[in-house]
């Protein structure tokens, strides 16, 4: 049986006590154990510096210098048959050593192999765009810029892709609060009504469990209707809720169950 832990404050606590917890690594193996990867690595090593390399979950992970990325991917595409860039993005390690880890997931349909090319950049540094090599990098690099603020040099249209163009902040950074910062919480109000409307509309209600049963400004409370804005004491009379007005509506007959005939014979 699972050990008991008190659940009364479980909503208020965060899921992880250590925010930058690094999970135990899956076992790594040497590149020599796979002949295809070993040949690929030789071809890369002949032209570029490789900092670290290993095989993990049947995929080769190669760490290179940030400046070499265009050359490495070009070599892999043209000579090593890694013709697809499945995905690319960044990992936020700012709290650890003020760096981003950029990864490129490559797929070879002919060899049926995957290689992950990685490198580190400092915070504020830009990366080289590989959009000229792989069209899929177009949106991926825009998304990386949108979410992390990492710009790609040589990209034809370096703008946000998911968030609005006038958004401030980079939501996938670990320092970015999930519920948004000051700018995010007032974004739609500022944009549509202007900053002076903040006092009228009021801050966002972020407590989803909050129900104010005496709120007559926003809710009519079915069955206990009062005029809008009434001070509610809690002992309002219950009024029966009907689909239609009692006397029926002009030109529309009210359905009368008593005078209607129900045919319950399936063989009729």
């Amino acid at each position: 049986m699972r050990t008991y832990t008190p659940k009364d404050d479980v909503q208020a606590k965060s899921y992880y006590t250590d925010r930058y917890y690094v999970s135990p690594q899956v076992p790594k193996s040497e590149v020599e154990t796979d002949a295809v990867f070993a040949a690929d690595l030789e071809a890369i090593k002949a032209k570029f510096e490789v900092k670290e390399v290993f095989i993990q979950v049947e995929q080769m992970v190669v760490y290179i210098n940030a400046n070499d990325i265009y050359g490495v991917l070009e070599l892999m595409r043209d000579e090593l048959e890694y013709t697809q860039l499945s995905e690319m993005s960044a990992i936020d390690w700012l709290a650890k050593d003020n760096t981003f880890e950029i990864f490129y997931q490559m797929l070879s349909m002919n060899k049926r192999k995957r290689i992950r090319v990685k490198y580190f950049i400092k915070n504020g540094q830009a990366v080289d765009s590989v959009e000229k090599l792989f069209r899929s990098a177009d949106w991926s690099e825009r998304e990386m810029f949108d979410m992390f603020g990492i710009e790609a040099n040589g990209h034809p249209f370096m703008k946000r892709i998911l968030m609005p163009y006038d958004w401030q902040g980079f939501p996938l950074l670990k320092t970015y609060p999930l519920e948004g910062d000051e700018f995010a919480s007032w974004y739609e109000v500022d944009k549509i009504y202007g900053k002076e409307a903040r006092d009228i509309i009021g801050p966002e209600l972020r407590d989803t469990a909050r129900v104010d049963r005496y709120d007559s400004q926003r809710f009519a409370r079915l069955g206990h209707e009062v005029p809008k804005g009434t001070e509610i004491t809690g002992d309002e009379p219950k009024n029966e809720q009907a689909y239609q007005e009692d006397g029926g509506v002009f030109l529309i007959k009210k359905f009368d169950k008593e005078s209607s005939k129900i045919i319950d014979d399936p063989q009729r």
Binding site: M163, P171, L178, S185, E188, A197, T208, F219, V249
Partner: protein, 169 residues
């Protein structure tokens, strides 16, 4: 020449009904509520089901229109993102008065489970809402009941030009 066979003075009376302007205008408005298709997320699927043959909104005179200029009621069905917020305001402004808004589902009511930076925490931060439908997603029956309640609300109001325009601010 064809002869009238109905003797109005004896068979059921003259084909005349007396009523007030308020009643007949509200009768027309409440029974031809043309809805703006505003499916934003999974609630939109339920809204489409409400319009389709099994639940059949046409019985209530509710016909979905793809243009705000032809619509009377905006059924906001789904999650409203902050990027989209300005468009819902623009479409609401393009609807002709009198106009009504039904907020359908938890996301449209309060932001629902999306307690995040990118989601508007309730469409009533942007536009005035007449009816909140609970559910995730509400069944088509809920939407039908909501439309009936809205009809009732319309009939309870005065129909004249003096009808106060709804403004969030």
């Amino acid at each position: 020449m064809a002869q009238h066979k109905v003797n109005y003075t004896q068979d059921g009376g003259l084909p005349v009904a007396l009523t007030s302007i308020d009643k007949i205008v509200n009768w027309g408005r409440s029974n031809s509520l043309w809805a703006l298709t505003y499916g934003l997320a999974c609630c939109g699927i339920e809204m489409m089901a409400s319009g389709a043959s099994r639940f059949d909104f046409d019985r209530y005179g509710t016909i979905f229109r793809a243009s705000p200029r032809q619509a009377d009621v905006m059924i906001v069905a789904g999650t409203l993102t902050k990027k989209h917020a300005e468009f819902i305001k623009r479409l609401y402004d393009q609807m002709t008065e009198p106009r009504w808004v039904i907020s359908m589902g938890s996301c449209a009511n309060t932001g629902g489970m999306f307690n995040t930076y990118a989601t508007v925490q309730g469409v009533d931060r942007i536009i005035p809402v007449d009816l909140y439908l609970p559910g995730c997603a509400p069944r088509p029956e809920t939407l039908q009941y909501g439309v009936m309640l809205l009809q009732k609300k319309i009939r309870a109001n005065k129909a004249g030009n003096a009808q106060k325009a709804k403004r969030l601010m």
